[in-house]
Subunit: 313 residues, 2 copies
């Protein structure tokens, strides 16, 4: 007899046709009908228009020895940071630098570990506007039906988990798993995008509105999430040889067409995504005894898939 | 210039005296006074009575090649499962078995991967009562001041994140990071504790009241969280050689005194913990620009420390 938890998360959701029937022996037995629509069926039933091709001009591709990590940038929320990061990337700033920090259930962080003679920022700026929030009316926003403790309202903006305070006319990205931010010192304007971090554990939502989030990892999280945790303060690696080399970070648009990642993200402003949210708010898979009737922002998967060749731009 | 995010989590909280002063060059500069009480100071100011020695009779010690993982059991919530797990452990059931599943942002799971000729359960039972909830009046409960979307009330019970529904007289453990549960098939009574999983990502609270949680990892999470993710359905490893060997799982009480882990957990029913919760609800560290005024259950760290020799039982 086998015991299997149900599936979860983005990666699973993309195993179209696999999870619905179940991969474990036990689940291969005939299921009682009728059965609720599953995530796999939902995604299989989407139309091409339910998906958005990721713009290579807003995509970072990090090359590690273990493979590629693909990040989608969020210029609508942090235009100044995103522009500075693009400048750094185009100057080859990150090439040959390292991942220097892995703090369990918190973040993995990369940049220049050399405090004595740091790498030149070249054409990029050393300090930037804080960009912890943006003007709410400037961005699209699809609300989640459920309440949130950290913000008056939460939802999704162009495939990113976000929040807003309509009374204050502010919107901001939320620190969910796989979100990428620009480290900063104690001064709010001290960040410049040359130190980037990604959330690898339970969503540290207390960081929302305290630091600039600049994007989301679409592919390759499983490479960052498994890095050995650093034993130094804040999870920094204590010995230089523990740091993880970054071969390069390139803008998607600067990568030859044939080698460029071709990804699509499920649009978060269409009925298919609304169905997905409801499917996850109330899990009807055979395994579940009690649907939750609720979902927190960071538990909503935002599916990513490799684009069909015809849809590549 | 260095950019560092602030610290988070249990491990950080235990770096007494390190995080308060800051380990990064930037933070070594004189800080403006007055400064708010930090986590390190709070823990340093606790009294011995604020801590609870972990009972070796309710402790599992898993030995991996990478080191020890220490789990505290929760017999108040899942007495039948905990008793069965202890029986399995005392029969050496897990010794030589493997970790078979690592699904990114979800769970790591271990047990017997051999479906053809599974290991005998010996004196343990093959099926158990569901134990997804327990009677609320039988357990201690310290409420969190903040609301939760998944339960009428959340809080802590003897060092475990928990929830309750007073109207229904039910209480249950919550699927936060590091919580350990007993896998089951589709039938509610199909779990028996021979397949165990631990949460390694954002809290999958939708599992609450759907499966029996049996304890919490107190030490060694960083070994489980970094395991390579499985490429098979649900994150199962596809090749036998990818599985991670378990040398043994022993009950703490069965380990010779000198080799036994000696851990203490901050009591969750005393003013020191209440202070800790408030400290995390509104972060006043110099780095923060905007305290959240809220904390979700699974973001509250429950500190663990190695016991002083005199307090060992």
């Amino acid at each position: 007899m086998r015991f299997a938890l149900p599936c979860s998360g983005i990666a699973s959701a993309l195993l179209l046709g696999v999870l619905a029937s179940g991969a474990r022996a036990e689940q291969a037995q005939p299921a009682p009908a009728p059965r609720a629509l599953g995530m796999a069926e939902l995604l299989a039933a989407t139309a091409p228009a339910d998906w958005r091709v990721v713009d290579p001009a807003e995509m970072l591709v990090m090359e590690l020895a273990s493979g590629r990590v693909v990040i989608e940038l969020a210029p609508a929320f942090a235009p100044v940071h995103v522009a500075n990061i693009k400048q750094l990337v185009r100057d080859g700033y990150f090439d040959g630098l390292t991942i220097n920090r892995a703090q369990d259930n918190f973040v993995v962080q990369w940049g220049d570990p050399d405090e004595q003679s740091p790498r030149s920022l070249k054409g990029a700026r050393a300090t930037l506007d804080a960009e912890f929030t943006t003007r709410a009316f400037t961005i699209p926003f699809t609300p989640l039906p459920d309440a949130d403790g950290y913000a008056p309202q939460v939802g999704f903006s162009a495939g990113m988990p976000a929040a807003r305070d309509s009374a204050a006319s502010q919107a901001w990205l939320a620190h969910c798993y796989a979100m990428v931010g620009a480290g900063r010192g104690n001064a709010p304007e001290s960040g410049n995008g040359s130190e980037l971090y990604v959330v690898i554990g339970h969503a540290p939502r207390q960081l929302d509105r305290n630091i600039a989030l600049v994007g989301r990892v679409l592919q390759g999280m499983e490479q960052l999430a498994v890095l050995p945790r650093g034993s130094g303060p804040l999870g920094f690696y204590e010995r230089p040889e523990q740091r993880v080399p970054i071969r390069s970070i390139r803008l998607g648009a600067d990568i030859p067409h044939a080698e460029r990642p071709r990804l699509e993200v499920l649009r978060t402003d269409r009925p298919a995504f609304e169905q997905l949210v409801e499917l996850r708010r109330n899990r009807r898979d055979e395994w579940y005894q009690r649907p939750a009737g609720y979902i927190d922002l960071c538990n909503v998967p935002i599916p990513v898939r490799t684009a069909a060749p015809s849809t590549v731009n």
